[in-house]
């Protein structure tokens, strides 16, 4: 068995498990490099394009290296109606990058994502696995300061 897939998983190498395998690889290696995706494609028995297709469809999978703190702001309708644009702007201003970018020091990656299921607390964002709701510009400053 190859180097990467040997390390990645206890899951069965079945194409129905592709998403689980991608998630596992992502949490182990931080992002899905072309090398990892090629290995996965081979071991699962699907084409590289299919693996790349799944990896780019899901907002929580990344094909690019990410910062230590991944900020994900919801771009769906409920958050939009509760002024998520303002939140997106404030985060961008605070850390000096646009959605889709990573800070040069590798501290933050900033992404827009689809609904994160926190509509009752809109506008909402996630930093790594933590959900923050009812955001205001003030709250954001405090939350980002606490990030290491």
């Amino acid at each position: 068995m190859s180097r990467i897939s040997g390390r990645i998983s206890t899951q069965s190498k079945d194409q129905n498990n592709l998403l689980v395998l991608l998630e596992e690889a992502q949490s182990k290696f931080g992002c899905l490099s072309q090398e990892i995706m090629s290995e996965l494609a081979k071991s699962v028995g699907v084409s590289i394009s299919e693996v790349y297709g799944a990896a780019t469809f899901y907002a929580f999978l990344s094909t690019k290296p990410q910062g230590r703190n991944v900020i994900r702001i919801c771009k769906s309708l409920p958050c939009f109606l509760k002024n998520s644009e303002l939140i997106i702007e404030s985060v961008g201003r605070e850390i000096g990058i646009q959605p889709g970018e990573t800070t040069p020091d590798g501290k933050f990656t900033f992404q827009l994502t689809n609904c994160i299921g926190a509509c009752d607390k809109a506008p909402a964002m996630m930093i790594n696995n933590e959900v923050y709701g009812d955001l205001t510009s003030k709250k954001i400053m405090a939350i980002l300061k606490a990030c290491k």
């Binding site: 072309q34 699907v46 394009s49 299919e50 790349y52 297709g53 780019t56 907002a59």
Partner: protein
């Protein structure tokens, strides 16, 4: 296999129980337009052009993937169906590159042909047009993804007929795109000259090279928007 009686556009018809509405209609000379269905490929109901009205059903159904049932009453060209098809074509055209007069597929384009049948006129919905550079790396196939309508015929034809799996759909929403490997131009390493996908493409997105000249590789110049 059991025969099933259904009514399409007031005609009493019968079909085998494993047939879809589309197949029964086609077998009886009733033409339902479609952009993603091909008899050689498993139906996926991606384009929604083949929707029909089934009495008693809350919504219109995709005829290419809906099996017939005893006593079904179907209307393939009711005002509701035609209005829906028009909206779908409208949306497809709105995000299409709109350079039909420069396109080598021209009057053989299935999208254009259905638009003409439905008397679409000029697009009414302004949408952001996505522009992708033409890929002509491969000596066997030219890909112009600005003309792609994401019907997935190439994906299925490559998988089911050529048994190659070269294509897949990547990204999401407006950015959805048919990709090869890690979103690279198609080349001779991944694809030989089987030609299958080209013959299945309903638009000018996939074509055989006659080489594109530099004049035609530029961004489309759209004069009225």
């Amino acid at each position: 296999m059991k025969n099933i009686a259904i009514t399409i556009n007031g005609l009493q018809l019968t079909g085998r129980e494993d047939m879809t509405i589309f197949e029964v209609a086609q077998a009886n000379g009733i033409n339902i337009p479609t952009l993603c269905y091909k008899s050689e490929l498993p139906p996926i109901g991606a384009c929604r052009i083949c929707v029909v009205e089934v009495e008693g059903s809350r919504t219109l159904v995709g005829s290419c993937h809906t099996p017939i049932a005893e006593g079904m009453v179907v209307h393939t060209h009711s005002p509701k169906v035609l209005a829906t098809r028009k909206v779908i074509i409208e949306l497809l055209l709105a995000s299409h590159c709109g350079t039909c007069f420069m396109c080598s597929k021209a009057n053989m384009c299935e999208l254009r042909s259905i638009a003409a049948d439905l008397d679409m006129g000029l697009p009414q919905v302004p949408t952001r047009r996505l522009y992708y550079p033409v890929e002509d790396v491969s000596p066997y196939v030219i890909r112009d993804l600005s003309k792609c309508i994401l019907c997935r015929r190439c994906v299925r034809a490559c998988r089911e007929i050529a048994k190659q799996n070269v294509f897949a759909v990547a990204y999401r929403g407006f950015e959805s795109k048919i990709v090869v490997d890690f979103d690279q131009p198609i080349d001779t390493d991944v694809c030989r000259d089987c030609d299958v996908c080209i013959s299945f493409c309903p638009t000018g997105a996939l074509s055989r090279p006659s080489k594109v000249t530099d004049e035609k590789k530029g961004r489309p110049l759209i004069i009225c928007d």
